[in-house]
Amino acid sequence: MMSVLLLYLREFGLGFVATLGFGMLFNVPRRTLIACCVTGAVGRTVRLAAVDLGASIEGGSYIGALAVATAGYFLARFYKVPRTIFTVTGVIPMIPGVPAFSTMLEFAAGNIDAGLVNAVKTMLIGGALAMGLTTVRVLTQVQGRSGSMA
């Protein structure tokens, strides 16, 4: 039980630190930096919990992105800043870096089969993150734009 808790704390802490540099890189307003880091950490932790409860990494990424987007919605209202400040920095820790890297290595080595497997995995995780953000965006869009398709 203790070790599980530590594992989650580690994920939260590393997610927090991992988001910090990106917040700075995107020059987010100073008063929102900590909130960005918490958003990123929450996303990672929620994804870990979802995967522990039996979700696939893709499904977990979707749920993690839902958490990030929901947090972004409320934080944006609280700080009165554009929502993307929190959603962009928040999903970055969930980016499928290792599958993307394997895709490149396998293709470069001529292993097209293994490359494709990794490419599909990368796209599914990336797509799950995108869908998570979009779901919340569509549900919270209060006034529709005239003349837009969505």
């Binding site: 994920e11 590393l14 997610g15 630190v17 991992a18 988001t19 910090l20 540099g21 990106f22 917040g23 700075m24 890189l25 995107f26 020059n27 987010v28 307003p29 100073r30 929102t32 990672r44 009165k80 800043v81 554009p82 993307t84 400040i85 959603t87 962009v88 920095t89 999903v91 970055i92 820790p93 980016i95 870096g97 290792v98 993307a100 890297f101 490149m104 290595l105 470069a108 990336g126 995108a130 953000l133 979009t134 965006r137 569509v138 869009q141 734009r145 837009s148 398709m149 969505a150």
Partner: protein, 256 residues
């Protein structure tokens, strides 16, 4: 409401162009550019504004169909600065609620244009490299991967800050930076006897991931701005290919 007529319609339209440039150059999603410019247009009493926004430029028209005034503006520089986006967003809200005069809006815009980065270069380099190291651990690495990732990311960040001022093409900056990040993290891994040097090099290049174009691309597609969404997606894909190219240049022909 009677505004003092000190700025004529042309000058007020130019203010809108400046706001549009600020938004597009710093990574705003298309619907936000449209909405912000329309709100600012109302505040400047320009009547109904028509805006056509793409990531590489925008067209702006005011004055209705009887006496239209048009501006076309190209965007050549693309960066990310959330602080400026938040500031322009705030300005468009305040312009309406506090009934700012065109002069006050112009002053605010000049202020935003002159804003520098909040985080000094040394802090940025330190923050980004520590974050990249944390990524190495999140992906399953240990402390040696953390250190190698930090070193690779730090070297890459220093090169990147330098190149941004000299190299014009963002793709070139990405390729060179990815190469440096991979080289330094791999060599550090060799010295530190890392068990998984791959993780360290992935961690070090993660700072180059085009996060803002990827997310705004999805946002654009979701809000119906298909053209902008596809364009931004293509840009993000190009940058991803640039990262892969930079890494492969080292992994294939460098020290293996």
């Amino acid at each position: 409401m009677n505004l003092p007529e000190t700025l004529d319609t042309n000058e007020r339209l130019n203010l809108l162009v400046r706001a549009g440039v600020l938004l597009l150059e710093n990574g705003a999603a298309t619907y936000r550019v449209d909405e912000t410019l329309k709100a600012l247009g109302r505040a400047l009493e320009l009547g109904d504004i028509e805006v056509f926004t793409t990531p590489t430029g925008f067209t702006l028209q005011a004055g209705g169909s009887s006496c239209p005034l048009t501006r076309v503006h190209r965007i050549t520089h693309v960066g990310v600065d959330m602080n400026r986006l938040a500031a322009v967003n705030n300005l468009s809200r305040e312009a309406l609620s506090k009934a700012l005069t065109p002069e006050q809006i112009a002053d605010h815009l000049s202020q935003i244009e002159q804003q520098r980065s909040i985080y000094p270069a040394w802090l940025l380099a330190a923050g980004v490299s520590i974050s990249c190291g944390a990524f190495g651990m999140l992906m399953g690495g240990g402390w040696t991967e953390f250190v190698a990732g930090v070193l690779g990311a730090l070297a890459a960040m220093l090169i990147r800050l330098r190149l941004r001022r000299t190299l014009v093409l963002p793709l070139m900056v990405t390729v060179v930076t990815a190469f440096v990040a991979t080289a330094v993290s791999r060599i550090s891994c060799h010295a530190l006897h890392c068990t998984s040097p791959d993780l360290a090099s992935v961690a070090a290049v993660l700072q180059l991931v085009p996060g803002v174009p990827m997310v705004t691309s999805v946002l654009d597609l979701a809000t119906g701005d298909i053209l902008s969404g596809v364009t931004r997606g293509a840009y993000a894909a190009l940058m991803a290919v640039g990262i892969a190219l930079g890494m492969l240049l080292f992994l294939v022909w460098g020290l293996r």
